[in-house]
Amino acid sequence: MTSQPSLSDKALTPLGQQCLQGLMREWFQFERALGRIPIIQRLQQSQFTLEDYQKLLLNLRQQVIEGSRWITRTASSFDRTFADIRSEVIGHAQEEHRDYEILEQDYINSGGQPEDINNYPRNAGSEALHGFLMYRASQSNPVDMIGAMWMIEGLGEKMANDWAELVEACLTKAFAKSEEHMAQHCTRFMRYHGANDDHHMEKLYKMIDRVCQTDADVQNILRTARVVGRLYALQLEEVDYE
Protein backbone atom coordinates (compact mmCIF):
# COMPACT_ATOMS: atom_id res chain seq x y z
CA MET A 1 0.00 0.00 0.00
CA THR A 2 1.37 3.37 -0.91
CA SER A 3 1.45 5.89 1.86
CA GLN A 4 -0.69 8.99 1.70
CA PRO A 5 1.41 11.90 0.47
CA SER A 6 1.93 14.37 3.25
CA LEU A 7 2.91 18.00 3.65
CA SER A 8 5.96 17.21 5.70
CA ASP A 9 7.86 15.56 2.83
CA LYS A 10 10.85 17.83 2.36
CA ALA A 11 12.57 16.43 -0.71
CA LEU A 12 10.72 17.32 -3.88
CA THR A 13 9.33 14.39 -5.82
CA PRO A 14 10.18 14.28 -9.55
CA LEU A 15 6.70 15.54 -10.39
CA GLY A 16 6.94 18.24 -7.74
CA GLN A 17 10.29 19.28 -9.17
CA GLN A 18 8.92 19.37 -12.70
CA CYS A 19 6.02 21.49 -11.49
CA LEU A 20 8.31 23.88 -9.60
CA GLN A 21 10.51 24.37 -12.67
CA GLY A 22 7.44 25.03 -14.79
CA LEU A 23 6.11 27.50 -12.24
CA MET A 24 9.43 29.34 -12.16
CA ARG A 25 9.32 29.58 -15.97
CA GLU A 26 5.73 30.88 -15.82
CA TRP A 27 6.79 33.44 -13.25
CA PHE A 28 9.80 34.67 -15.26
CA GLN A 29 7.58 34.95 -18.32
CA PHE A 30 5.04 36.92 -16.30
CA GLU A 31 7.76 39.25 -14.98
CA ARG A 32 8.77 40.02 -18.55
CA ALA A 33 5.13 40.66 -19.44
CA LEU A 34 4.96 43.12 -16.52
CA GLY A 35 8.00 44.89 -17.96
CA ARG A 36 6.07 45.55 -21.18
CA ILE A 37 3.09 47.24 -19.45
CA PRO A 38 3.25 51.05 -19.71
CA ILE A 39 2.48 51.87 -16.07
CA ILE A 40 5.15 49.42 -14.86
CA GLN A 41 7.62 50.78 -17.42
CA ARG A 42 7.01 54.25 -16.01
CA LEU A 43 7.62 52.92 -12.52
CA GLN A 44 10.87 51.21 -13.51
CA GLN A 45 12.12 54.27 -15.34
CA SER A 46 11.25 56.75 -12.57
CA GLN A 47 8.57 58.45 -14.71
CA PHE A 48 5.86 57.32 -12.33
CA THR A 49 3.64 60.05 -10.82
CA LEU A 50 1.47 60.35 -7.73
CA GLU A 51 -1.53 60.15 -10.03
CA ASP A 52 -0.19 56.89 -11.49
CA TYR A 53 0.13 55.45 -8.01
CA GLN A 54 -3.37 56.45 -7.02
CA LYS A 55 -4.72 54.92 -10.24
CA LEU A 56 -2.77 51.74 -9.54
CA LEU A 57 -4.21 51.41 -6.03
CA LEU A 58 -7.73 52.12 -7.28
CA ASN A 59 -7.35 49.34 -9.81
CA LEU A 60 -5.71 46.84 -7.48
CA ARG A 61 -8.21 47.19 -4.65
CA GLN A 62 -10.99 45.11 -6.18
CA GLN A 63 -8.66 42.25 -6.91
CA VAL A 64 -7.30 42.32 -3.36
CA ILE A 65 -10.87 42.23 -1.99
CA GLU A 66 -11.82 39.39 -4.31
CA GLY A 67 -8.56 37.62 -3.50
CA SER A 68 -9.81 36.59 -0.08
CA ARG A 69 -12.99 35.25 -1.67
CA TRP A 70 -11.32 32.96 -4.18
CA ILE A 71 -8.92 31.66 -1.56
CA THR A 72 -11.74 30.78 0.85
CA ARG A 73 -13.72 29.26 -2.02
CA THR A 74 -10.67 27.18 -2.93
CA ALA A 75 -10.44 25.95 0.66
CA SER A 76 -14.06 24.89 0.76
CA SER A 77 -13.74 23.00 -2.54
CA PHE A 78 -11.19 20.55 -1.13
CA ASP A 79 -12.76 17.37 0.27
CA ARG A 80 -11.39 15.35 3.13
CA THR A 81 -8.70 13.64 1.03
CA PHE A 82 -7.09 17.08 0.89
CA ALA A 83 -7.89 18.12 4.45
CA ASP A 84 -4.24 19.08 5.06
CA ILE A 85 -4.24 21.36 2.03
CA ARG A 86 -7.55 22.81 3.10
CA SER A 87 -6.06 23.75 6.48
CA GLU A 88 -3.13 25.49 4.77
CA VAL A 89 -5.39 27.43 2.44
CA ILE A 90 -7.74 28.46 5.26
CA GLY A 91 -4.75 29.76 7.22
CA HIS A 92 -3.63 31.72 4.21
CA ALA A 93 -7.07 33.23 3.64
CA GLN A 94 -7.34 34.18 7.31
CA GLU A 95 -4.06 36.09 7.12
CA GLU A 96 -4.95 38.06 4.02
CA HIS A 97 -8.67 38.61 3.97
CA ARG A 98 -8.51 42.19 5.23
CA ASP A 99 -5.40 43.33 3.38
CA TYR A 100 -7.52 45.64 1.28
CA GLU A 101 -8.05 47.89 4.30
CA ILE A 102 -4.32 48.64 4.37
CA LEU A 103 -4.43 49.39 0.66
CA GLU A 104 -7.34 51.77 1.15
CA GLN A 105 -5.48 53.59 3.91
CA ASP A 106 -2.42 53.91 1.62
CA TYR A 107 -4.65 55.49 -1.00
CA ILE A 108 -6.04 57.99 1.51
CA ASN A 109 -2.55 58.76 2.88
CA SER A 110 -1.43 59.52 -0.66
CA GLY A 111 -4.11 62.21 -0.85
CA GLY A 112 -6.99 60.23 -2.34
CA GLN A 113 -10.63 60.54 -1.23
CA PRO A 114 -12.22 57.59 0.66
CA GLU A 115 -15.40 57.75 -1.44
CA ASP A 116 -13.39 57.44 -4.67
CA ILE A 117 -11.73 54.20 -3.67
CA ASN A 118 -14.87 52.79 -2.07
CA ASN A 119 -16.87 53.30 -5.24
CA TYR A 120 -14.25 52.33 -7.77
CA PRO A 121 -15.46 49.50 -10.04
CA ARG A 122 -13.51 46.44 -11.20
CA ASN A 123 -11.62 47.10 -14.40
CA ALA A 124 -11.95 44.67 -17.34
CA GLY A 125 -8.85 42.73 -16.33
CA SER A 126 -9.91 42.41 -12.67
CA GLU A 127 -13.31 41.24 -13.87
CA ALA A 128 -11.77 38.52 -16.04
CA LEU A 129 -9.24 37.52 -13.37
CA HIS A 130 -11.89 37.28 -10.67
CA GLY A 131 -14.26 35.34 -12.96
CA PHE A 132 -11.57 32.83 -13.86
CA LEU A 133 -10.37 32.35 -10.30
CA MET A 134 -13.87 31.86 -8.87
CA TYR A 135 -14.64 29.36 -11.64
CA ARG A 136 -11.49 27.31 -11.00
CA ALA A 137 -11.85 27.59 -7.21
CA SER A 138 -15.35 26.13 -7.48
CA GLN A 139 -14.16 22.88 -9.05
CA SER A 140 -13.86 19.84 -6.81
CA ASN A 141 -10.35 19.53 -5.31
CA PRO A 142 -8.92 22.46 -7.30
CA VAL A 143 -5.22 21.60 -6.97
CA ASP A 144 -4.47 23.85 -9.96
CA MET A 145 -5.17 26.83 -7.67
CA ILE A 146 -1.67 26.27 -6.30
CA GLY A 147 -0.59 27.82 -9.62
CA ALA A 148 -2.76 30.89 -8.94
CA MET A 149 -1.39 31.22 -5.41
CA TRP A 150 2.16 30.92 -6.75
CA MET A 151 1.68 33.90 -9.07
CA ILE A 152 -0.15 36.08 -6.55
CA GLU A 153 2.40 35.35 -3.82
CA GLY A 154 5.22 36.07 -6.26
CA LEU A 155 3.61 39.44 -6.91
CA GLY A 156 3.56 40.16 -3.19
CA GLU A 157 7.31 39.55 -3.06
CA LYS A 158 7.88 41.69 -6.12
CA MET A 159 5.85 44.57 -4.69
CA ALA A 160 7.79 44.49 -1.44
CA ASN A 161 11.24 43.96 -2.94
CA ASP A 162 11.07 46.07 -6.11
CA TRP A 163 8.01 48.23 -6.41
CA ALA A 164 7.62 49.72 -2.92
CA GLU A 165 11.02 51.38 -3.05
CA LEU A 166 10.49 52.69 -6.59
CA VAL A 167 7.07 54.05 -5.64
CA GLU A 168 8.49 55.79 -2.56
CA ALA A 169 11.26 57.39 -4.63
CA CYS A 170 8.69 58.77 -7.09
CA LEU A 171 6.31 59.96 -4.36
CA THR A 172 9.10 61.70 -2.49
CA LYS A 173 9.62 63.80 -5.60
CA ALA A 174 5.88 64.48 -5.88
CA PHE A 175 5.36 65.57 -2.26
CA ALA A 176 6.36 68.95 -0.89
CA LYS A 177 9.62 68.95 1.05
CA SER A 178 7.80 69.06 4.40
CA GLU A 179 5.71 66.02 3.49
CA GLU A 180 8.44 63.84 2.01
CA HIS A 181 8.31 61.47 4.97
CA MET A 182 4.71 60.69 4.01
CA ALA A 183 5.89 58.59 1.06
CA GLN A 184 6.52 55.59 3.28
CA HIS A 185 3.04 55.84 4.75
CA CYS A 186 1.59 55.24 1.30
CA THR A 187 3.26 51.90 0.54
CA ARG A 188 2.36 49.82 3.58
CA PHE A 189 0.25 47.43 1.56
CA MET A 190 3.13 46.65 -0.79
CA ARG A 191 5.61 46.32 2.05
CA TYR A 192 3.48 44.41 4.53
CA HIS A 193 2.19 42.03 1.90
CA GLY A 194 5.70 41.04 0.92
CA ALA A 195 6.85 40.45 4.49
CA ASN A 196 4.08 37.93 4.97
CA ASP A 197 4.52 36.31 1.60
CA ASP A 198 7.97 34.94 2.38
CA HIS A 199 6.50 32.45 4.73
CA HIS A 200 3.60 31.80 2.36
CA MET A 201 6.11 30.84 -0.36
CA GLU A 202 7.66 28.24 1.98
CA LYS A 203 4.24 26.72 2.49
CA LEU A 204 3.63 26.71 -1.25
CA TYR A 205 6.79 24.68 -1.88
CA LYS A 206 5.49 22.01 0.46
CA MET A 207 2.05 22.04 -1.10
CA ILE A 208 3.43 21.60 -4.61
CA ASP A 209 4.98 18.30 -3.62
CA ARG A 210 1.83 17.18 -1.92
CA VAL A 211 -0.63 17.94 -4.72
CA CYS A 212 1.41 16.90 -7.79
CA GLN A 213 0.34 13.28 -8.08
CA THR A 214 0.05 12.98 -11.87
CA ASP A 215 1.29 14.69 -15.02
CA ALA A 216 -2.19 16.11 -15.46
CA ASP A 217 -1.95 17.80 -12.03
CA VAL A 218 1.29 19.47 -13.11
CA GLN A 219 -0.19 20.63 -16.41
CA ASN A 220 -3.31 22.00 -14.70
CA ILE A 221 -1.26 23.92 -12.16
CA LEU A 222 0.90 25.43 -14.88
CA ARG A 223 -2.07 26.36 -17.05
CA THR A 224 -3.82 28.12 -14.19
CA ALA A 225 -0.59 29.95 -13.32
CA ARG A 226 -0.27 31.10 -16.94
CA VAL A 227 -3.88 32.27 -17.20
CA VAL A 228 -3.56 34.19 -13.94
CA GLY A 229 -0.39 35.86 -15.23
CA ARG A 230 -2.05 36.87 -18.51
CA LEU A 231 -5.17 38.22 -16.79
CA TYR A 232 -3.20 40.05 -14.11
CA ALA A 233 -1.20 41.73 -16.86
CA LEU A 234 -4.50 42.67 -18.53
CA GLN A 235 -5.65 44.19 -15.25
CA LEU A 236 -2.55 46.40 -15.15
CA GLU A 237 -2.85 47.33 -18.84
CA GLU A 238 -6.42 48.45 -18.16
CA VAL A 239 -5.17 51.04 -15.64
CA ASP A 240 -4.21 53.27 -18.57
CA TYR A 241 -7.43 52.67 -20.54
CA GLU A 242 -9.66 54.65 -18.24
Binding site: L20, M24, R25, F28, R32, G35, Q44
Partner: protein, 366 residues
Protein backbone atom coordinates in the same frame (compact mmCIF):
# COMPACT_ATOMS: atom_id res chain seq x y z
CA UNK B 1 28.68 20.15 -41.00
CA UNK B 2 30.21 19.81 -37.53
CA UNK B 3 32.26 22.68 -36.12
CA UNK B 4 35.16 22.43 -33.68
CA UNK B 5 37.11 24.92 -31.58
CA UNK B 6 40.54 23.60 -32.46
CA UNK B 7 42.71 26.32 -30.94
CA UNK B 8 42.42 29.15 -28.41
CA UNK B 9 44.52 32.20 -27.56
CA UNK B 10 44.53 35.29 -25.39
CA UNK B 11 46.17 38.63 -24.74
CA UNK B 12 46.23 40.18 -21.25
CA UNK B 13 48.16 43.45 -21.42
CA UNK B 14 50.97 44.25 -18.97
CA UNK B 15 51.42 42.82 -15.52
CA UNK B 16 48.57 41.78 -13.26
CA UNK B 17 47.33 44.72 -11.19
CA UNK B 18 46.23 43.98 -7.63
CA UNK B 19 43.46 45.75 -5.75
CA UNK B 20 45.77 48.21 -3.98
CA UNK B 21 47.26 49.40 -7.26
CA UNK B 22 44.03 50.00 -9.21
CA UNK B 23 43.53 53.59 -8.20
CA UNK B 24 47.20 54.44 -8.81
CA UNK B 25 46.60 53.58 -12.45
CA UNK B 26 43.02 54.75 -13.02
CA UNK B 27 43.61 57.85 -10.91
CA UNK B 28 42.04 59.49 -7.87
CA UNK B 29 38.91 61.43 -8.86
CA UNK B 30 39.35 65.03 -7.62
CA UNK B 31 42.46 63.76 -5.85
CA UNK B 32 40.48 61.71 -3.34
CA UNK B 33 40.41 57.94 -2.81
CA UNK B 34 37.14 56.24 -3.62
CA UNK B 35 34.81 55.34 -0.77
CA UNK B 36 33.08 52.62 -2.73
CA UNK B 37 36.09 50.76 -4.06
CA UNK B 38 36.59 48.40 -1.14
CA UNK B 39 32.96 47.43 -0.88
CA UNK B 40 32.59 46.67 -4.59
CA UNK B 41 35.85 44.73 -4.76
CA UNK B 42 34.85 42.68 -1.75
CA UNK B 43 31.61 41.82 -3.42
CA UNK B 44 33.03 40.92 -6.84
CA UNK B 45 35.95 38.93 -5.43
CA UNK B 46 38.39 40.00 -8.19
CA UNK B 47 42.01 39.99 -6.93
CA UNK B 48 44.01 40.89 -10.04
CA UNK B 49 43.31 42.24 -13.53
CA UNK B 50 45.14 43.83 -16.47
CA UNK B 51 45.04 47.34 -17.91
CA UNK B 52 46.16 48.52 -21.31
CA UNK B 53 46.81 52.02 -19.91
CA UNK B 54 49.59 53.13 -17.57
CA UNK B 55 49.44 55.49 -14.61
CA UNK B 56 50.06 58.46 -16.92
CA UNK B 57 46.94 57.34 -18.78
CA UNK B 58 48.85 56.57 -21.95
CA UNK B 59 47.41 53.70 -23.95
CA UNK B 60 50.15 51.09 -24.22
CA UNK B 61 48.32 48.85 -26.65
CA UNK B 62 45.18 49.60 -28.65
CA UNK B 63 42.07 47.46 -28.54
CA UNK B 64 42.62 46.23 -32.10
CA UNK B 65 46.26 45.36 -31.37
CA UNK B 66 45.22 43.36 -28.30
CA UNK B 67 42.69 41.54 -30.48
CA UNK B 68 45.41 40.86 -33.04
CA UNK B 69 47.77 39.50 -30.37
CA UNK B 70 45.08 37.12 -29.16
CA UNK B 71 44.35 36.09 -32.77
CA UNK B 72 48.03 35.46 -33.46
CA UNK B 73 48.39 33.52 -30.20
CA UNK B 74 45.48 31.33 -31.28
CA UNK B 75 46.74 30.76 -34.84
CA UNK B 76 50.29 30.01 -33.70
CA UNK B 77 49.19 26.90 -31.89
CA UNK B 78 47.15 25.73 -34.90
CA UNK B 79 48.10 24.45 -38.33
CA UNK B 80 46.03 27.01 -40.19
CA UNK B 81 47.90 29.80 -41.95
CA UNK B 82 46.52 33.29 -42.31
CA UNK B 83 46.03 32.74 -46.05
CA UNK B 84 43.82 29.72 -45.38
CA UNK B 85 41.45 31.57 -43.08
CA UNK B 86 37.96 31.99 -44.55
CA UNK B 87 36.37 34.31 -42.05
CA UNK B 88 37.18 36.77 -39.28
CA UNK B 89 34.42 37.44 -36.78
CA UNK B 90 35.14 39.90 -33.98
CA UNK B 91 33.42 41.53 -31.04
CA UNK B 92 34.02 44.42 -28.69
CA UNK B 93 31.97 46.79 -26.58
CA UNK B 94 33.90 49.78 -27.83
CA UNK B 95 36.52 49.84 -30.56
CA UNK B 96 39.35 52.34 -30.78
CA UNK B 97 37.42 54.21 -33.47
CA UNK B 98 33.72 54.96 -33.64
CA UNK B 99 33.85 53.98 -37.31
CA UNK B 100 34.72 51.81 -39.25
CA UNK B 101 33.72 48.52 -37.66
CA UNK B 102 36.15 46.98 -35.19
CA UNK B 103 36.56 43.97 -37.50
CA UNK B 104 38.24 46.06 -40.18
CA UNK B 105 40.81 47.36 -37.72
CA UNK B 106 41.53 43.88 -36.34
CA UNK B 107 41.82 42.44 -39.86
CA UNK B 108 44.40 45.08 -40.74
CA UNK B 109 46.30 44.50 -37.50
CA UNK B 110 46.32 40.75 -38.15
CA UNK B 111 47.25 41.28 -41.85
CA UNK B 112 44.58 38.89 -43.10
CA UNK B 113 44.06 39.05 -46.88
CA UNK B 114 40.74 38.72 -48.74
CA UNK B 115 38.73 37.52 -45.77
CA UNK B 116 35.00 37.53 -45.05
CA UNK B 117 34.41 39.88 -42.15
CA UNK B 118 31.88 40.18 -39.37
CA UNK B 119 31.72 42.62 -36.44
CA UNK B 120 29.32 42.03 -33.56
CA UNK B 121 28.45 44.98 -31.37
CA UNK B 122 27.09 44.85 -27.84
CA UNK B 123 28.55 44.19 -24.41
CA UNK B 124 29.42 40.85 -22.78
CA UNK B 125 27.28 38.75 -25.10
CA UNK B 126 28.72 40.27 -28.30
CA UNK B 127 31.58 37.76 -28.22
CA UNK B 128 29.05 34.94 -28.34
CA UNK B 129 27.19 36.67 -31.20
CA UNK B 130 30.45 36.84 -33.16
CA UNK B 131 31.08 33.20 -32.33
CA UNK B 132 27.61 32.12 -33.39
CA UNK B 133 27.89 33.86 -36.76
CA UNK B 134 31.23 32.19 -37.43
CA UNK B 135 29.92 28.84 -36.18
CA UNK B 136 26.97 29.05 -38.58
CA UNK B 137 29.18 30.07 -41.50
CA UNK B 138 31.37 27.00 -40.98
CA UNK B 139 28.39 24.74 -40.23
CA UNK B 140 26.77 25.84 -43.49
CA UNK B 141 29.89 25.02 -45.43
CA UNK B 142 30.51 28.62 -46.44
CA UNK B 143 34.00 28.40 -44.94
CA UNK B 144 36.28 25.61 -43.77
CA UNK B 145 37.43 27.67 -40.84
CA UNK B 146 36.99 30.99 -39.08
CA UNK B 147 38.88 33.04 -36.52
CA UNK B 148 36.79 34.59 -33.77
CA UNK B 149 38.25 37.33 -31.57
CA UNK B 150 36.68 39.23 -28.67
CA UNK B 151 38.54 42.16 -27.15
CA UNK B 152 37.89 44.88 -24.58
CA UNK B 153 39.71 48.02 -23.56
CA UNK B 154 37.43 49.40 -20.88
CA UNK B 155 40.06 51.14 -18.73
CA UNK B 156 40.09 54.27 -20.91
CA UNK B 157 36.55 54.95 -19.66
CA UNK B 158 37.71 54.83 -16.06
CA UNK B 159 40.42 57.47 -16.07
CA UNK B 160 39.85 59.93 -13.22
CA UNK B 161 39.78 62.76 -15.76
CA UNK B 162 36.60 61.29 -17.32
CA UNK B 163 34.74 61.73 -14.06
CA UNK B 164 36.28 65.14 -13.42
CA UNK B 165 35.07 66.35 -16.82
CA UNK B 166 31.45 66.20 -15.68
CA UNK B 167 29.80 69.21 -14.09
CA UNK B 168 28.95 67.25 -10.99
CA UNK B 169 31.41 67.29 -8.11
CA UNK B 170 30.66 63.81 -6.93
CA UNK B 171 30.50 60.53 -8.78
CA UNK B 172 27.21 58.71 -8.44
CA UNK B 173 27.20 55.05 -7.51
CA UNK B 174 25.92 53.81 -10.86
CA UNK B 175 28.68 55.63 -12.73
CA UNK B 176 31.42 54.40 -10.41
CA UNK B 177 30.31 50.79 -9.99
CA UNK B 178 31.93 49.42 -13.17
CA UNK B 179 35.22 51.20 -12.44
CA UNK B 180 35.96 48.44 -9.94
CA UNK B 181 34.57 45.65 -12.09
CA UNK B 182 35.89 45.83 -15.65
CA UNK B 183 39.39 45.54 -17.08
CA UNK B 184 41.17 44.84 -20.35
CA UNK B 185 42.00 41.75 -22.40
CA UNK B 186 41.29 39.76 -25.53
CA UNK B 187 40.65 36.13 -26.40
CA UNK B 188 40.37 34.15 -29.62
CA UNK B 189 39.04 30.82 -30.92
CA UNK B 190 39.83 29.08 -34.19
CA UNK B 191 36.85 27.20 -35.63
CA UNK B 192 37.36 24.38 -38.13
CA UNK B 193 35.09 21.86 -39.80
CA UNK B 194 37.44 19.01 -38.80
CA UNK B 195 38.63 18.05 -35.33
CA UNK B 196 42.34 18.56 -34.75
CA UNK B 197 43.89 16.70 -31.83
CA UNK B 198 41.97 17.14 -28.61
CA UNK B 199 39.44 19.90 -29.19
CA UNK B 200 35.89 21.07 -28.48
CA UNK B 201 32.96 20.23 -30.74
CA UNK B 202 30.29 22.94 -30.71
CA UNK B 203 26.94 21.18 -30.23
CA UNK B 204 24.85 24.35 -30.27
CA UNK B 205 24.84 28.05 -29.38
CA UNK B 206 21.59 29.60 -28.23
CA UNK B 207 20.73 33.12 -27.10
CA UNK B 208 17.67 34.64 -25.43
CA UNK B 209 17.39 38.43 -25.44
CA UNK B 210 14.86 40.31 -23.31
CA UNK B 211 15.39 43.95 -24.31
CA UNK B 212 11.66 44.36 -24.99
CA UNK B 213 10.77 43.68 -21.36
CA UNK B 214 13.48 45.51 -19.40
CA UNK B 215 14.96 48.98 -19.25
CA UNK B 216 18.62 49.60 -20.12
CA UNK B 217 20.81 48.32 -17.30
CA UNK B 218 24.34 49.06 -18.51
CA UNK B 219 25.17 51.82 -20.94
CA UNK B 220 27.46 54.48 -22.33
CA UNK B 221 25.86 57.46 -24.08
CA UNK B 222 23.01 58.54 -21.89
CA UNK B 223 22.50 60.25 -18.57
CA UNK B 224 18.91 61.39 -18.79
CA UNK B 225 16.03 59.79 -20.58
CA UNK B 226 15.58 62.46 -23.26
CA UNK B 227 19.05 62.91 -24.68
CA UNK B 228 21.77 60.65 -25.97
CA UNK B 229 25.39 61.75 -26.35
CA UNK B 230 24.91 62.61 -30.01
CA UNK B 231 21.99 64.93 -29.30
CA UNK B 232 24.16 67.52 -27.52
CA UNK B 233 25.60 70.40 -29.57
CA UNK B 234 29.14 69.36 -28.79
CA UNK B 235 30.79 66.28 -27.35
CA UNK B 236 32.13 68.55 -24.66
CA UNK B 237 28.57 69.30 -23.53
CA UNK B 238 27.72 65.63 -23.60
CA UNK B 239 30.72 64.82 -21.44
CA UNK B 240 29.93 67.65 -19.01
CA UNK B 241 26.41 66.26 -18.67
CA UNK B 242 27.84 62.85 -17.77
CA UNK B 243 26.46 61.26 -20.93
CA UNK B 244 29.77 59.60 -21.82
CA UNK B 245 30.28 57.79 -18.52
CA UNK B 246 29.74 54.06 -18.39
CA UNK B 247 26.83 53.31 -16.10
CA UNK B 248 25.22 50.33 -14.47
CA UNK B 249 21.71 50.58 -13.06
CA UNK B 250 22.45 48.32 -10.11
CA UNK B 251 18.81 48.10 -9.02
CA UNK B 252 18.06 46.09 -12.15
CA UNK B 253 21.04 43.75 -11.87
CA UNK B 254 19.30 40.94 -10.01
CA UNK B 255 17.21 40.33 -13.11
CA UNK B 256 20.26 38.87 -14.81
CA UNK B 257 20.30 35.96 -12.37
CA UNK B 258 16.63 35.19 -12.86
CA UNK B 259 16.90 35.43 -16.64
CA UNK B 260 20.06 33.31 -16.63
CA UNK B 261 18.29 30.53 -14.77
CA UNK B 262 15.17 30.99 -16.92
CA UNK B 263 17.24 30.40 -20.06
CA UNK B 264 18.83 27.34 -18.51
CA UNK B 265 15.39 25.92 -17.66
CA UNK B 266 14.29 26.55 -21.26
CA UNK B 267 17.22 24.58 -22.60
CA UNK B 268 16.36 21.73 -20.22
CA UNK B 269 12.76 21.83 -21.38
CA UNK B 270 13.83 21.76 -25.03
CA UNK B 271 15.95 18.70 -24.26
CA UNK B 272 19.14 20.49 -25.34
CA UNK B 273 20.85 19.56 -22.10
CA UNK B 274 20.31 17.46 -18.99
CA UNK B 275 21.83 18.44 -15.67
CA UNK B 276 23.43 15.02 -15.16
CA UNK B 277 25.30 15.25 -18.49
CA UNK B 278 27.26 18.37 -17.54
CA UNK B 279 30.90 17.86 -16.59
CA UNK B 280 32.13 21.47 -16.62
CA UNK B 281 30.43 24.85 -16.39
CA UNK B 282 32.16 28.00 -17.60
CA UNK B 283 29.94 30.91 -16.66
CA UNK B 284 30.77 34.56 -17.22
CA UNK B 285 29.33 35.87 -13.99
CA UNK B 286 30.67 39.36 -13.52
CA UNK B 287 31.10 39.12 -9.81
CA UNK B 288 31.40 36.59 -7.00
CA UNK B 289 28.24 38.13 -5.56
CA UNK B 290 26.24 36.69 -8.47
CA UNK B 291 27.86 33.29 -8.23
CA UNK B 292 26.09 32.72 -4.91
CA UNK B 293 22.79 34.02 -6.26
CA UNK B 294 22.98 31.79 -9.36
CA UNK B 295 23.77 28.76 -7.20
CA UNK B 296 20.88 29.30 -4.84
CA UNK B 297 18.33 29.92 -7.58
CA UNK B 298 19.47 26.83 -9.51
CA UNK B 299 19.23 24.83 -6.32
CA UNK B 300 15.72 26.11 -5.72
CA UNK B 301 14.74 25.01 -9.22
CA UNK B 302 16.24 21.59 -8.57
CA UNK B 303 18.85 22.00 -11.33
CA UNK B 304 21.92 22.61 -9.17
CA UNK B 305 25.24 21.71 -10.77
CA UNK B 306 27.83 20.65 -8.15
CA UNK B 307 30.25 23.43 -7.27
CA UNK B 308 33.35 21.46 -8.27
CA UNK B 309 32.16 21.44 -11.89
CA UNK B 310 32.26 25.24 -12.13
CA UNK B 311 35.43 26.80 -13.50
CA UNK B 312 36.29 30.48 -13.70
CA UNK B 313 39.39 32.65 -13.89
CA UNK B 314 37.46 35.85 -13.08
CA UNK B 315 39.33 36.39 -9.81
CA UNK B 316 42.80 36.42 -11.43
CA UNK B 317 42.14 37.75 -14.97
CA UNK B 318 39.35 40.18 -14.15
CA UNK B 319 36.03 40.81 -15.88
CA UNK B 320 36.95 41.52 -19.49
CA UNK B 321 33.39 41.77 -20.82
CA UNK B 322 32.89 40.00 -24.13
CA UNK B 323 36.45 38.61 -24.02
CA UNK B 324 35.92 36.85 -20.68
CA UNK B 325 34.47 33.58 -21.94
CA UNK B 326 37.26 33.34 -24.57
CA UNK B 327 39.99 33.97 -21.99
CA UNK B 328 38.26 31.50 -19.67
CA UNK B 329 37.99 28.63 -22.15
CA UNK B 330 41.57 29.29 -23.29
CA UNK B 331 42.92 28.91 -19.75
CA UNK B 332 40.58 26.01 -19.01
CA UNK B 333 41.82 24.17 -22.11
CA UNK B 334 45.45 24.71 -21.18
CA UNK B 335 45.39 24.15 -17.42
CA UNK B 336 42.41 22.00 -16.40
CA UNK B 337 41.80 18.30 -16.51
CA UNK B 338 39.09 17.13 -18.92
CA UNK B 339 38.44 13.94 -20.85
CA UNK B 340 37.17 12.94 -24.27
CA UNK B 341 33.39 12.82 -24.15
CA UNK B 342 33.09 15.51 -21.43
CA UNK B 343 30.27 18.01 -21.79
CA UNK B 344 31.00 21.69 -21.18
CA UNK B 345 28.33 24.34 -20.79
CA UNK B 346 29.30 27.97 -21.34
CA UNK B 347 26.97 30.71 -20.16
CA UNK B 348 27.30 34.40 -20.93
CA UNK B 349 24.69 36.63 -19.32
CA UNK B 350 24.75 40.29 -20.36
CA UNK B 351 23.10 42.99 -18.29
CA UNK B 352 23.24 45.71 -21.02
CA UNK B 353 19.60 45.16 -21.83
CA UNK B 354 19.49 41.52 -20.79
CA UNK B 355 20.78 39.05 -23.34
CA UNK B 356 21.87 35.58 -22.27
CA UNK B 357 23.80 33.23 -24.53
CA UNK B 358 24.56 29.56 -23.88
CA UNK B 359 26.83 27.09 -25.64
CA UNK B 360 27.29 23.35 -25.37
CA UNK B 361 30.67 21.80 -26.17
CA UNK B 362 31.84 18.19 -26.23
CA UNK B 363 35.49 17.25 -25.82
CA UNK B 364 36.58 15.16 -28.83
CA UNK B 365 39.87 13.81 -30.14
CA UNK B 366 40.81 13.14 -33.76
Amino acid sequence: MSVYITSTGHCLPGNPVNNDEIENILGFVHGKPSRLKKKILQSNGIKTRHYAINRDHETLISNSDMAAFAGDDCLQSSMVSKRQLGMLSVATSQGDLVLPGFGSMVQAALKLPDIELNTAHGICSSGMMALKTAYMAVALGEHNNALVVASELASRLFKASRYEATLSNKVDFNAEFLRWMLSDGAGAFLLQNQPVGRCFKIEWIQGFSHADAYPVCMSVGQNDADKTWQDYSTYQEAEAAGALLIRQDVRLLDNIVKLGVDGFLRLLEKGKIQVGEIDHVLCHYSSDYFRGKIFSLMEKAGVAIPEEKWYTNLYERGNTGCASIFIMLDEFAKTQHYSVGDTIICMVPESGRFNNVYMRLTVVES
